[in-house]
């Protein structure tokens, strides 16, 4: 059982109405984040995957969130600051290595 098992179960339940339709998209986006960040345990992930296979709205939200997050991540990673050439050398010199 992971840190978020209980949180996942109660949050997941609150996302859906009795008929199983997604009614709380904001809460669901928190669940999506947990899954995308690989922080959901196996059981939670299985429940999640089963739902996105059978619920079009849940699947749509998941795919959109996944693409947006990946695009942002990719662009941020591409945009890294140039490292000062002498930084490593200066550090080593300052401690006498």
């Amino acid at each position: 059982m992971s840190e978020f098992s209980d949180w996942f179960k109660s949050s997941f339940k609150e996302c859906y109405c009795e008929r199983g339709n997604l009614v709380d998209e904001k809460r669901f986006s928190e669940i999506i984040q947990l899954v995308l960040d690989n922080e959901a345990d196996e059981e939670s992930r299985a429940i999640f995957e089963e739902k996105i296979r059978t619920c079009v709205k849940s699947n749509g939200n998941y795919e959109r969130e996944k693409c947006v997050q990946e695009s942002i991540k990719q662009k941020l990673c591409e945009h890294k600051q140039e490292i000062p050439e002498d930084l490593a050398k200066t550090i080593k010199k300052s401690i006498g290595l």
């Binding site: 840190e3 998209e25 928190e30 984040q33 960040d37 662009k75 941020l76 600051q81 490292i83 300052s94």
Partner: protein, 202 residues
């Protein structure tokens, strides 16, 4: 960061006794490979090349000074990031040139309140993000409060797990999860507003 603080964060790990040669090897092989990530993190906190450089140098000096608190084979990168983050908060931010300081507790309680959820944008389109260049996304990220920006950097740029982030930032793992979610929503909101201004959504 004081020796006491460094020792506190290594509670549960045995204090090492490295010889001079071993210390140099640990420093070189376990700490130095992270210098680029450390500089990027420092730059994204300070927005200034010289300040970032000073912050990284200061972090490495502390890491060497307290190297006996580091246990080989444990997560050197997380250990260094934690020292850097503490240096930034405790020393650097105090003397920083940045005029306005954000009270993190105020921001977090604001974003934790139920009311804010109503105004958070969650409909940012993939195409909108794809139209943007790295500069635009970086500018949007730089405009969100530093404590929220930090969790995005640690998670999305540096690939730390929630547990590692919890240790680096000294906050419960549940707070990492909720803060990261709010941070990403803040970023999406900024990007969405920017896209509207620039007409990317047409």
């Amino acid at each position: 960061m004081s020796e006491e603080a460094v020792n506190k964060e290594n509670q549960g790990t045995q204090r090492q006794k490295y010889s001079e040669k071993e210390a140099a090897r640990v420093f070189d092989q376990e700490f130095m490979p992270h210098v680029n990530s450390m500089y990027n993190f420092a730059y994204r906190l300070t927005f200034d090349e010289d300040d970032a450089k000073d912050l990284v140098q200061d972090t490495y000096l502390k890491a060497f000074r307290f190297i006996n608190s580091f246990e080989q084979g444990t997560n050197a990168k997380a250990w260094l990031f934690r020292i850097l983050k503490n240096s930034f908060i405790n020393e650097f931010r105090k003397k920083s040139k940045q005029p306005a300081k954000v009270d993190y507790n105020e921001v977090e309680s604001y974003y934790n309140s139920d009311d804010i959820d109503e105004s958070i944008t969650t409909d940012l389109r993939v195409e909108t993000v794809q139209h943007m260049i790295g500069d635009e996304i970086t500018l949007a990220m730089n405009s969100i409060p530093v404590d929220f920006r930090t969790v995005i950097i640690l998670s999305d740029l540096e690939g730390f797990t929630y547990e590692e982030m919890s240790k680096i930032l000294d906050i419960p793992i549940g707070t990492v999860r909720s803060r990261l979610h709010r941070a990403r929503n803040m970023l999406k909101e900024k990007l969405s507003s920017y896209a509207k201004e620039m007409g990317y959504n047409k």
